[in-house]
Amino acid sequence: MTNQEKYLRAFMEALEVTAAEAPTLVYGESRAWDSVGHMTLVAALEDAFDVMMEMDDIIDLSSFEKGKEILRKYDVEI
């Protein structure tokens, strides 16, 4: 599985959304991505790419695109 696929899958499974919905989501603006969903998503991304995110990055993770940018800091290219 490519990183891109893994990344998309983490969103789909953690937030229970379709592949089409995932890239459009913004934290706090949908029921799927509430605070509970957020922590599930963080755990899914940490598992998928074997990283431990810093608090600043956890709270900065606010959209599909932003997440890619953050993972780059942990040497994960999406």
């Binding site: 934290y27 029921r31 799927a32 969903g37 599930t40 755990a43 606010s62």
Partner: protein, 468 residues
């Protein structure tokens, strides 16, 4: 009148994350403008968010004798409609984009509108009735808890006393306004002239912490899930020099986490205060004094000032020895009037007489500190929201009449058991939608049959064996 805003006129009552702020004098003035339009005592549905409009509505209505019924702004529409039908409010105070058929807008302020409904003003209200709240995580039934002015006044006085609140406090919101714990923070802090920091953002959002630091928040409250989340976020590494107090309620925190926060607070000169309460007791019934938070890990403490506890055995007798489990009974002026299931109940008086059977099973130690050990009734909490398992089963039965299903589980982990595995995802999606709670709290399990006794009653102990 609930609060004496005139005692704190020049103080700041509230600041929001968008730069909005109101002094107590301004809040009083804004409240008068709004209530003039409401024109006398009546029932108003308030659709709550942690924003200025929502805050203005709640505080002004309560202070002016208008009875607010507090609902989440993102309430499921079918549920709103059922409540609207059952209670026939004269007004709905809602975000400007909320649509209500045949209503007319009487006032608009801070992004909220006062919508006059076409139902007229037919609901009769008991003189002592102050406020209506749902028992959180509300499912199907249109049930409200009826709280009186005396209830709120009494609980506010107790909270101000045991938390030693002063006008220097700056609590930041972490809980919804329609949730009794969140509301009690607002009530008690307005009473002492403190400044509320209003945000609709959650603790896992950057904007929350930016606002927190900019405005120098001094305290917040959280349900067990909030503290689990903060722990996973490695919150204890944050620089938060203004933070002095953290309170916890809305379910039992894991003892390990209780210890961890208590130790961190001890080491950093802060106070960690575990509390216990229910909407049926206005908000708070007990607290664990911060000095005891490490010595009494796992305990929810002692009764609040003005309240008393008793433990009752299966024969209805009061238990006098320590470490014996019994049902927890509470007495105090904050025990609410009773429930309502429709508009006809709003004229009712006090049905509880100051005594509340909490439905929680507890023990007391030699020093008089109480610990919750289980529940008598079949309910659990999902992210701090009470879920009545029997009620959830009834909802499933109505929606999926052909499927044999039952519900069980533990806090933050509800399991739907059904013989028809193919229907389980639909059941889960239905409950997620109806409760408005995140799907990650709902689990499913296909079972060969729902175990029942000869009388047809579900054997939940048997069922739990299937749960992983």
């Amino acid at each position: 009148m609930m609060w004496r805003f005139d005692r704190h006129l020049t103080g700041l009552a509230v600041e929001d994350e968008f730069g909005g702020k109101l002094t107590y004098a301004e809040l009083r003035h804004e409240g008068r403008m709004l209530c003039q339009q409401a024109d006398g005592r009546c029932l108003v549905f308030c659709l709550c968010k942690n924003t200025m409009g929502s805050f203005l509505g709640y505080t002004s209505f309560l202070n002016d004798g208008v009875v607010p019924a507090m609902l989440p702004a993102d309430i499921d529409r079918a549920q709103f409609d059922a409540l609207y039908e059952a209670y026939k409010p004269k007004y709905v105070w809602a975000p400007a984009d909320f649509e209500l058929e045949d209503s007319c807008c009487r006032y608009e302020r801070f992004g909220y509108r006062l919508l006059q409904t076409p139902l007229g003003d037919i609901t009769r209200l008991a003189p002592e009735l102050a406020l209506l709240l749902t028992t959180s995580g509300s499912t199907g039934s249109p049930k409200f808890v009826r709280q009186s002015y005396q209830n709120i006044r009494s609980n506010t006085d107790s909270i101000v006393e045991y938390l030693h609140l002063t006008s220097a406090e700056r609590p930041i919101t972490t809980l919804p306004m329609n949730y009794t714990y969140g509301l009690s923070i607002i009530n008690s802090h307005l009473d002492v002239g403190a400044t509320l920091l209003l945000t609709d953002k959650g603790v896992a959002q950057k904007e929350f912490w930016t606002f927190f630091k900019e405005k120098g928040a001094t305290s917040f409250g959280g349900v067990p899930y909030t503290y689990e989340m903060l722990d996973r976020m490695r919150f204890m590494r944050m620089e938060l020099p203004t933070l002095k107090t953290m309170t916890q309620a809305g379910g039992k925190l894991l003892p390990d986490l209780h210890r961890k926060y208590a130790e961190w607070c001890r080491d950093t000169g802060r106070q960690f205060i575990v509390m216990y309460g229910q909407c049926e007791a206005t908000a708070r019934m007990a607290y664990l004094p911060w000095e005891k938070s490490l010595e009494k890990v796992g305990s929810m403490g002692i009764a609040i000032p003005g309240g008393t506890f008793e433990l009752i055995d299966v024969d209805g007798n009061v238990i006098t020895e320590p470490h014996v489990t019994g049902e927890l009974r509470y007495r105090g002026a904050n025990v609410t009037l009773g429930y309502a299931t429709g508009s006809n109940d709003l004229i009712k008086g006090n049905e509880r007489g100051g005594v509340l059977e909490t439905g929680d099973m507890a023990q007391v130690d030699e020093d008089g500190f109480y610990t919750i050990v289980g529940r008598k009734k079949r309910f659990l909490k999902l992210f701090g929201n009470r879920i009545n398992l029997d009620e959830v089963e009834r909802m499933l039965k109505i929606k999926f009449p052909d499927v044999d299903a039952a519900c069980g589980g533990r806090d933050d982990h509800m399991t739907i058991f059904a013989t028809d595995e193919a229907t389980l995802p639909a059941m889960r999606a239905y409950l997620t939608e109806k409760t408005g709670l995140n799907g990650s709290g709902f689990f499913t399990k296909g079972v060969p049959e729902i175990p029942k006794n000869e009388a047809g009653k579900t054997l939940y102990m048997e069922l739990e064996k299937y749960d992983d």
